[in-house]
């Protein structure tokens, strides 16, 4: 396995900049996830690493080799495609062994390696089948096996779980985490699914409009999102946002909108603005019987263990998560308290984070 280093990568399609100055250093054995909404440039970035897209500007290193001008086959990377891209006219066995055949391994060696991988992925009984005779989950395992059999420097995975149904996706996700952990693989993984990203990645590179907007561990990204975009994209159900005015009374600053008023945290005491975006996660509130922020329940969605409750606060609607034991009906009035630590404050004009809840 090897490290991967992307330095100031740019990609133009015609005049459109789809990957904008992306720089990420991926350590040997790291599982790095590019996550972002569709069209954010994550797949294009991955394809540049694979060599399937040319690089408009910048540099890609795998190990200590610059691979910019190497063809895909010479980069020693293996790719798992979203639609698996199995060779439809070859049996499972031939699919698994194809890359080895292309690299002129001898037949006995190919057979041995294919069998080992087939055993690992529970595909032994299917070696003679054609891809169209397999279920979605089996195809996915063949695609994975085809990558593993080569023992490549880096695994590139382009939304490999998105074509599986929900239950199988969970199971495969777990297996993939175990497998890549055992193999100590360097993995570059692309997904639009933030849950997948959070559960699998050692680090996430959150992308938006061609740029990496935050690169950090899942925990840090969740706790300290660098912008309103990241805060909204990571975490489910998504964070609530309220536009607040900054008011001053008797020398103390307050955050205020049409329905609530809170003492301003220290971090904005010296901020030269008169408005701020305040965010808080639906699960980081506490229901109280009195003295809290008050709103009217509009919709109650039962999620099993919890209830997602939509509340009308003046002009705004927010959502909160409450234990399912709470008896809540729509139309009812509800009060909750917001702990100061749970607040995320973002600059009103450029939407970047202003509070720092970190102790540093």
């Amino acid at each position: 396995m090897a490290s991967v280093s992307l330095k100031n990568l740019n990609k133009y399609f015609g005049n459109t900049l789809v990957v904008n100055n992306v720089s990420v250093d991926i350590a040997d054995g790291e599982f790095l996830v590019f996550v972002g909404p569709s069209g954010c440039g994550k797949t294009t970035t991955l394809r540049m690493v694979a060599g399937l897209e040319s690089i408009s500007d910048g540099e890609i290193q795998i190990g200590d080799r610059t691979v910019n001008h190497l063809p895909p086959g010479a980069r020693d990377v293996a790719m798992v495609f979203q639609n698996y891209a199995l060779y439809s006219h070859m049996t499972v066995g031939k699919n698994l062994g194809f890359a080895l055949k292309a690299r002129r391994f001898d037949d006995d060696d190919i057979k041995k390696r294919v069998l080992r991988v087939a055993k690992m992925l529970d595909l032994e009984d299917m070696l003679d089948r054609k891809p169209r005779q397999l279920s979605g989950g089996q195809r996915q395992r063949v695609a994975l096996g085809r990558a593993i059999v080569r023992n490549p420097q880096v695994f590139l995975m382009d939304e490999p779980l998105s074509n599986l149904d929900a239950l199988l996706r969970l199971q495969t996700r777990k297996e993939l985490i175990e497998l890549t952990g055992e193999l100590k693989s360097t993995v570059v993984y692309v997904t639009h699914d933030q849950v997948e990203a959070m559960t699998m990645g050692h680090r996430l590179a959150v992308m938006n409009e061609g740029e990496v907007v935050q690169l950090d561990t899942p925990e840090n990204i969740y706790k300290y999102p660098s912008s309103r975009f990241v805060a909204e994209f990571i975490g489910s159900p998504p964070m609530n946002f309220l536009n607040m005015e900054i008011n001053e009374k008797n020398g103390n600053k307050f955050l205020k909108n049409d329905s609530l008023e809170l003492p301003a945290p220290d971090s904005i005491k010296n901020l030269g603005e008169n408005a701020v975006i305040m965010g808080f996660r639906p699960n980081e509130i506490e229901l109280v019987s009195q003295g809290g922020v008050s709103g009217t329940v509009t919709v109650v969605e039962s999620l099993g263990a919890e209830k997602l409750v939509y509340l009308k606060l003046g002009e705004n609607t927010i959502s909160i998560l409450v234990p399912s034991e709470e008896k809540i009906k729509s139309g009812e009035n509800l009060q909750f308290s917001l702990r100061p630590e749970a607040l995320h404050l973002f600059n009103y004009s450029n939407q970047s984070r202003i509070t720092s809840n970190r102790n540093d």
Binding site: L52, G73, A78, M79, L86, Y87, H89, M90, F98, A102
Partner: protein, 306 residues
């Protein structure tokens, strides 16, 4: 309206829609064949003349006729030569213009032109170009010093067949190219990408992805192309009349000659029927041996029409 009624009315509409085609096929294909079979059992010399029924005499005569047997052989050589040459050339052209390049759409459209040119025009055009004294091929090759004396493309029995094969291929290659292009378009791009990442070179990609995907199309074209090539008459007749000597006399040419210059329409009919039976047998055996590919081809064309 119940579902059954609906299905019936839909079926009836379908029937009405294919009726004109069925009538046309009966009038211009089935009836002439039946009439040909009838004539082949008689002694009729020209259309409208008196005749008597002679049973299998024409057939038995033909089996002893060296000219006929030789023309069957020439037809076989003609079909194989045309088939191989056209398939290889059109596949190469298709692979070439399937690569992205500027003006691709223009080339894809206009490459069909030779196929759209009427056979008579093609024949005259190439006779002109093949001409020994004023033809562009001989004059330019001699001008460049590649030839000392003109090549008799159509008058030399050893190369007339090759010249005709070339002209006939010139006509059909564009059409085959378009079919191959359509078939290439149905090969999933991702399989090539996977192969590239897997380290496969051009040849391995062709062998393991392109070729297996083209096989159903190749098989269908193998059948259709054989039947088309077998029945080529216009180009040969208009360029060499089967000559020089009998060097380019295939079965259709011989039968036309027998019927309208030898004034023996019943013998010609018998020959045509024998040829038809041979082609039918060939088609049945071919389809049986390649039944798997035909099923796949059916799926491919269904995919393409989506």
């Amino acid at each position: 309206m119940t579902q059954n009624d609906f299905r019936n009315s839909e079926a009836r509409l379908g029937l009405y829609l294919i009726l004109p085609a069925v009538v046309l096929v009966i009038l211009v294909v089935i009836l002439p064949i039946i009439s040909g079979i009838q004539i082949s059992f008689t002694s009729q010399r020209v259309v409208g003349s008196e005749f008597e029924t002679v049973g299998l005499k024409n057939y038995l005569d033909l089996f002893g006729d060296k000219n006929f047997i030789a023309s069957l052989g020439r037809s076989a050589v003609w079909v194989i030569a045309n088939g191989l040459f056209q398939t290889v050339i059109s596949l190469l052209i298709a692979l070439l213009i399937n690569q992205p390049f500027r003006g691709q759409n223009f080339v894809r459209t206009w490459i069909l032109l030779p196929w759209a040119v009427p056979a008579a025009v093609t024949a005259i055009l190439w006779r002109w170009m093949f001409d020994a004294t004023s033809g562009i091929i001989n004059t330019s090759m001699m001008g460049m010093g590649m030839l000392e004396k003109p090549l008799l493309f159509l008058a030399n029995p050893e190369i007339a067949g090759i010249s005709l094969t070339f002209v006939n291929s010139w006509r059909y290659v564009p059409f085959l190219t378009i079919i191959f292009l359509a078939s290439l378009a149905s090969v999933p791009e991702e399989e090539y990408e996977a192969a590239k990442v897997d380290g496969a070179g051009m040849w391995l990609q062709f062998k393991s992805i392109t070729f297996p995907n083209l096989l159903p199309t190749l098989t269908v074209l193998g059948l259709v192309g054989t039947l088309w090539a077998s029945n080529v008459f216009d180009i040969i007749w208009m360029m060499t009349r089967g000559g020089p000597g009998v060097s380019t006399t295939t079965v259709p040419v011989l039968m036309y000659d027998t019927a309208f210059y030898g004034y023996n329409i019943s013998k010609a009919s018998a020959g045509a029927i024998i040829f038809l039976l041979l082609l039918i047998i060939f088609a049945i055996v071919f389809i049986f041996l390649n039944r798997k590919q035909f099923i796949l081809a059916n799926e491919t064309f269904k995919d393409l029409s989506k």
